[in-house]
Amino acid sequence: MNILNKKPIRSSDTASVSPGSMYEEVPLITGNQTFSSVTEKICSIVENDPPKMWYVLFGISLSLLLMLVGSVGYLIWEGTGIWGLNNPVGWGWAIVNFVFWVGIGHAGTLISAVLYLFRQKWRTSINRFAEAMTIFAVICALLFPTIHVGRIWVLYWFFPIPNQMEMWPNFRSPLLWDVFAVSIYFTVSLLFWYVGLVPDLATLRDRAKTKARRVLFGILSLGWRGGNRHWRHYELGYLILAGLSTPLVLSVHSVVSTDFATSIIPGWHTTIFPPYFVAGAIFSGFAMVMTLAIIARKAFGMEDFITIGHLEKMAKIIMVTGLMVGYAYSMEFFIAWYSGNEYEKFTFINRAFGNYAWGYWIMVSCNVLIPQFFWSRKMRTNVTVLFILSIFVNIGMWFERFVIIVSSLSRDYIPSSWDYYSPTIWDISVFLGSFGLFFTLFLLFIRFLPMISMTEVKGVLPQADPHHDMYHNSGDK
């Protein structure tokens, strides 16, 4: 009875947005969807020929991916000298990109796992492709530490593989922690995503018109028949994976931040880094989800599933995490001043006014100032504004990592070694190429797999939660 008394967290109570009323929300799913219309809409994208736009985007992405392959090939052939790295700045764009992509991934896990545990039902429309985004972002992220090493052919030394020399990796090195953190993250995210896909894959199998599809989806759906026991195990498994994923949201980027925090370089050696990096990761991840969601809903006409309400909620999270990041920026300055350490003080003054000041101010503008627009509901509900601002946040977060990594290294303790780092064409091509990899995978995903979880969306439709009128005034239609 208690459960029945409790008002379910769903926003389909009001049919439409009344302007001016702050607290009324858009319904989760609009357009009078039924179970079958949901299935029809989402499956049709996978089953029919994609729009022309898909081919155009896929062509562009594939070209960028080819550029990546070429650049990486040349890199391995010639050596890391083709990048702009020099003696004080041993890590450049490659590591910036690594942290950037790992950060992007975080929003996916947050949406699918943390919001799931908190019963935030609005996540249902975006969790599938947010998780996909996580996996693809982590793939992009893994690319960079792999190729940035000088001798890629000895990469297996990073793993604790028993060998005749009894040589083990150095467990004190944060880079090794990275290896574990990111690989665990990737594995768990992949499992979580796949488990969530199983019922939808079964739907696709059932609707399959060709034998190939039937066999393929048949294998992938693991014999799912929608039985009660299936659902019970599925729900439990999903819950466990969500539980496993949740600490990863915090741990992965914390570990990544220790690459810097455990070092002794002023500007890196900071205890604030773990929470600061996690906030930044969620911030950038939500911006990327927003960017992708806006493209996807436009391209495939999914406005009913990814409503303005979803976007607005994400905008709120972006604003909150943006404030956290802004707080971290100012706290770094405060601590640098408060510590009285000359090296530390200079590093931060140099960030704001030194050789990479341009990067610093791009970072501050994009990450601290721009999200302030989201105080206004008008801005939060304007798709164009959201799209543009989300891109700014992505840029700002890339620059945050650039500023931290490069500006700290470029001027550390001994001034004689100070030098300036500028990227070469190969730094740029690998970075752009990683977007090629990301979007190629993403476009393949939305072409061949349901980008929105049909199961979960159906779960938040009013029909899925029927009640007697005595409890609810607005009946389900």
Binding site: L85, G90, G150, V154, S173, E342, G354, P415, W418, Y420
Partner: protein, 1029 residues
């Protein structure tokens, strides 16, 4: 002792030079003509067979001759395909490389050569009128490293960067390989055939029309041959040509005393030293001895010790100027006036100086009279214990005045000795000029140029190039073909001093025999052999020629016994001359100085200096020197026009802007380099760059500025300078020096500098002996875990005395030679990827107009709590029980995390495969005891681990432990001032332990708890309290 007795050496088969024509070794052609069947693996049979056809061989030779491989970084499609093809074609041949190396398999193994154990031979390196006694490390007959000879007075066991890097010149792939006539390769026989009738004709006409222009030398054999030559051909002329030389010093002494002397400065005996434009610690002759003696007078161990005081007057910062306690910056053209002002001031104090009154009439306006007065008082106070020295660039008149000052201060015979020079050929510009006149008037039909390059280096006022063309036959002899040889009808290849027999006298006339370490790599002949051929038209080997000369030098005991003793020691004991009693020659000095008027110049002056990298251009094809940054400007791979910021602003010039300099119709475009502490309206340029046919390293690097100068002076006045607005890419290894346009940085460096380079004055040190600890607050450090204690066995450590480190770069080159450090090229240095394991940081402090300059050698500090070790994911850098921070190249994956986390930034990364394309001949210069690093691995100073292990093996065989002095790091070994000391810090009696116990000892960045094993002794300046403004 490391020097081995070398009787077996002479008979060693590998060095048998009797058939010099055939002694070419180790070329690719040799390798490929060997039938590979016997050695190549079976499954490559078809390729092996293919490799034996003439067609394939000629293809390979044409495709990859030794000379065609470029510096790394330029990847062309052609090269790529070439490399692919080469790796396929040569894969089956690699196995057969070893047996055909002439040097490795001994048919008759020479005695006392154990493969893998280096041998050390004493020899000497001739260097114009100078020479340096050296000990050469050879591996299986292959010289790899040069050190000073402890017993030799010219080096006292130390070396400078030129001596260190001269071994690389031996393996210069651009050396000339065969005689050439009209550009066509011929044999020495052909030259002899040509010379025979010429020789007879000159015998008939007493050598009319015959002239020899050689480099200057101090060699009994060369001098004997020259004298015989002039006797045989009385009408022939023989002059010496040197673009930069000490001619003015000798001429000055001639003016003052009526005679040419060799001055020898005993800085250790002087309490007050005045350097007038003299970089005696670095670029002057006998710099090693000067540095050593200067350091002896400078070194302090406690606050109760005294140290010398150095005053320096110059227009542009020199290494010596950096060491100065007081430095007066005046334009170059006012230096003579300064000297005159000093004479006037000294006279006022009652010092009698025998210069004519005309000197007192010299206009001294603009000279800081207070400075001169205080200096003068200090010199007078230290009469007989002071030393005044002027640089090679100053005119003969200034040198005469300086002699008179030292005479008045009674320093002559006390702090400066004068020796009677022997067996020398002096360079004289006047003789060169009259030779050019004779050439122009057609009086000379045969001109022989020995080891000189006047077409490149002569000044604008003598048009040697066109004069040379008037002669019928111009014969060029030299180790490399160059700008001059290209215009000669004969080119004869010379040989490197490590391949030749010869002899030299050093500055104090000590006799040494130059003995070959290796058979000539190419078809060259030595200078003595050439001179003898010119003289007799017959060929006699240099070995016989030198022994012939020494028959008259070694008379006391049996010749052979004494000869072998000289070869063993590297010098003839007791052959140094005694100082002469000298005195002013009134008549001569009055005549010489009466009309001396240095005058004043308005407008911009340009001053020329010899280069720290190329000297006068002769070392331009040496990659080690070319890449080693100039100690003061920190620019590598280029020469620049140093200028003060104020003058640059006045002329509207920016840093790195290309500016066009023109004087008397001669033009040169040189990049501007703004330097703190430079005189205004004055610009300094280095000679020796801008070679056009000097080889792959030297060609088109920098600008040839010889044409802007006249042959008599190192100064060009009223030069017009116009900026071009174009910026030039300059490879500078230290962008920030503590002063400059970016205020944020300049302020910060000034703030940090007292922590990094701790420095005080002698007075302050005496009142507060522990001043080093007052600079940085270092909290008590506690550890979270039980830390490893390094108390057992050997514990290696280093101490660097900043008070005597002059910044001369010798350690850097020594390290490069010892540890096979690659040369990476200008573009890589510009990107900040230079590989030097020990670098010399240079900072300026104080007033931007008149700053102080300090140097700090930085190599891996071998921290006990090494930040690099903790972050390496694959444990490629680890600590050993003896406190060494070891780098395991094999294990390195190249994440560069260690380099990022190194607060000293001493780790160097192989961004490319810098060593793979080294020509085979250059590979011969490498130390076989040090791994050559591959692409993608990190490297850094190892404290010369290979030497530590060598000592361990030796001492184990001798059943004892290592004692202080058994292990000497390469940088320490060569340091002329003993600033670097390395050893076992667990031994309380070792030199390094004692240094670390001094109260000036501090750890760089010790406050971040890295616990470096290398510590520094703070710098001191002995300032005259009266000059503190």
């Amino acid at each position: 002792m490391r020097i081995e007795k070398n009787d077996s050496f002479i008979d060693a088969e590998i060095l048998d030079n009797s058939n010099g024509e055939n002694s070419k070794m180790n070329t690719s052609a040799d390798r490929l003509t060997i039938p590979a069947k016997s050695n190549g693996k079976d499954y490559w049979r078809s390729l092996d067979e293919l490799s034996n056809t003439d067609k394939f061989q000629s293809f390979v030779e044409n495709e990859f001759p030794e000379g065609t491989i470029d510096m790394p970084s330029q990847v062309s499609r052609k090269k790529f395909l070439g490399l692919m093809g080469a790796s396929l074609a040569l894969a089956g041949l690699t196995a057969c490389r070893r047996p055909i190396e002439k040097i490795l398999p001994y048919i008759k193994a020479p005695e006392e050569i154990i493969p893998g154990i280096p041998k050390y031979y004493a020899s000497a390196m001739p260097f114009g009128l100078n020479s340096y006694g050296i000990v050469v490390e050879t591996h299986e007959g292959r010289p790899t490293k040069i050190e000073g000879n402890k017993g030799h007075s010219s080096s006292m066991g130390r070396a400078n960067s030129f001596v260190q890097s001269s071994v690389l010149n031996l393996y210069d792939p651009d050396r000339s390989q065969a005689p050439k006539h009209l550009g066509r390769e011929v044999t020495w026989k052909a030259f002899q055939t040509f010379w025979k009738p010429e020789h007879e004709q000159f015998l008939e006409n007493d050598g009319e029309g015959l002239a020899v222009l050689s480099e200057s030398f101090a060699s009994p054999t060369l001098n004997r041959l020259r004298n015989s030559f002039l006797e045989k051909f009385p009408k022939a002329t023989w002059a010496a040509y040197e673009p930069v030389s000490d001619e003015n010093i000798y001429r000055g002494l001639e003016i003052a005393t009526g005679q040419v002397y060799q001055p020898i400065n005993h800085f250790d005996k002087a309490d007050v030293i005045l350097s007038i434009d003299s970089d005696f610690l670095y670029l002057e002759s006998s710099d090693i001895v000067s540095s050593r003696r200067f350091a002896d007078g400078r070194r302090v161990t406690t606050e109760n010790d005294s140290m010398n005081r150095l005053y320096c007057v110059e227009n542009s910062f020199s290494v010596t100027g950096g060491m100065a306690d007081h430095r007066l910056i005046i334009p170059y053209n006012r230096i003579a006036a300064f000297t005159a002002a000093l004479i006037t001031e000294l006279r006022k104090s009652g010092i009698s100086i025998s210069t004519p009154d005309a000197i007192d009439q010299i206009d001294v306006s603009g000279i800081d009279t207070k400075w001169v007065r205080i200096l003068s008082n200090d010199l007078v106070f230290n009469k007989g214990k002071s030393l005044v020295i002027a640089g090679y660039r100053q005119s003969a008149e200034v040198h005469a005045m300086v002699y008179a000052i030292n005479d008045g201060l009674q320093n002559n015979g006390k702090t400066i000795y004068y020796h009677q020079p022997e067996d020398r050929l002096y360079p004289r510009k006047s003789e060169f000029k009259s030779l050019v006149k004779n050439l122009e008037s057609g009086k000379i039909n045969t001109l022989i140029l020995s080891d000189i390059n006047p077409v490149y280096s002569n000044s604008a006022d003598t048009d040697f190039t066109s004069a040379m063309k008037m002669a019928k036959n111009v014969i060029h002899y030299g180790v490399s073909e160059n700008e001059t040889s290209a215009l000669c009808n004969w080119h004869l290849p010379g040989i490197h001093y490590l391949e030749t027999w010869g002899d030299v006298r050093s500055f104090d006339n000590t006799l040494s025999v130059i003995q070959p370490m290796i058979a000539p790599l190419f078809k060259g002949k030595s200078q003595a052999e050439l001179f003898n051929t010119l003289l007799t038209a017959e060929f006699i080997s240099d070995y016989d020629l030198v022994r012939e000369t020494w028959k008259s030098l070694l008379v006391s005991q049996g010749f052979d016994k004494q000869w072998q003793q000289v070869l063993h020691d590297g010098y003839l004991a007791g052959s140094d001359s005694h100082p002469e009693e000298t005195s002013i020659n009134k008549r001569s000095i009055t005549a010489g100085l009466n009309n001396f008027n240095p005058g004043t110049t308005k407008g911009i002056e340009v001053v020329f200096a010899k280069s720290s990298a190329t000297f006068d251009g002769r070392f331009a094809n040496n990659g080690w020197l070319m890449e080693n940054p100039d100690p003061v400007t920190k620019v590598s791979w280029d020469n620049v026009a140093s200028i003060s910021e104020k003058t640059a602003t006045k002329l509207g010039l920016k840093n790195k802007e290309l500016a066009e300099f023109s004087i008397n119709g001669q033009k040169a475009t040189v990049p501007i380099w703004i330097m703190p502490g430079h005189a205004h309206n004055s610009i300094t340029m280095t000679l020796g760059y801008g070679r056009t046919s000097g080889g792959r390293i030297s060609n088109n690097v920098g600008v040839n500025v010889n044409r802007l100068k006249t042959s008599d002076s190192y100064l060009s006045s009223d030069v017009s300078v116009t900026g071009t607005g174009r910026s030039f890419l300059i490879a500078c290894t230290q962008d920030h020096h503590g002063m400059g346009s970016e205020k944020l940085v300049a302020d910060q460096i000034q703030k940090r500098l007292p922590m990094i380079v701790r420095e005080s004055t002698l007075d302050e040190y005496r009142s507060n002996p522990d001043f080093v600890n007052d600079v940085v607050e270092q909290p008590e450090l506690s550890s979270l875990w039980k830390e490893k204690e390094y108390t057992e066995g050997y514990q290696w450590g280093m101490s660097i005395d900043l008070n005597v480190c002059t910044g001369c770069n010798a350690c850097s080159i020594a390290c490069q030679s010892e540890n096979n450090i690659p040369v990476v090229g200008k573009d890589q240095v510009e990107k900040g990827r230079e590989m030097s394991w020990i670098r010399l940081d240079r900072y300026f402090s104080g007033d931007v107009e008149n700053p102080e300059m300090v140097f700090q050698p930085i190599a891996c500090q071998h921290c006990e709590m090494a930040p690099c070790e903790q972050v390496c994911p694959v444990t490629a850098t680890v600590h050993d029980d003896e406190g060494l921070n070891a780098m395991v190249y094999n294990r390195c994956a190249g994440t560069r995390y260690c380099a990022n986390n190194c607060p000293y930034k001493v780790r160097r990364y192989n961004f490319y495969n810098f060593t793979s394309e080294l020509p085979e001949i250059v590979q011969m210069s490498q130390n076989p005891n040090v791994t050559v690093r591959f692409r993608g691995v990190m490297e850094k100073c190892s404290f010369c681990l290979q030497r530590i292990n060598q000592a361990k093996i030796t001492t184990k065989n001798e059943n004892r432990t290592i004692v202080d002095g058994d292990v000497v790091a390469a940088c320490q070994q060569t340091c002329p001032t003993d600033a670097i000391v390395f050893g076992n810090i667990n031994d309380p009696d070792s030199k390094v332990s004692k240094m670390k116990k001094q109260n000036r000892d501090y750890s760089l960045l010790g406050e971040i708890n890295t616990r470096p094993r290398t510590t520094f002794l703070a710098k001191l300046r002995n300032q005259n309290s009266k000059l503190d403004s």
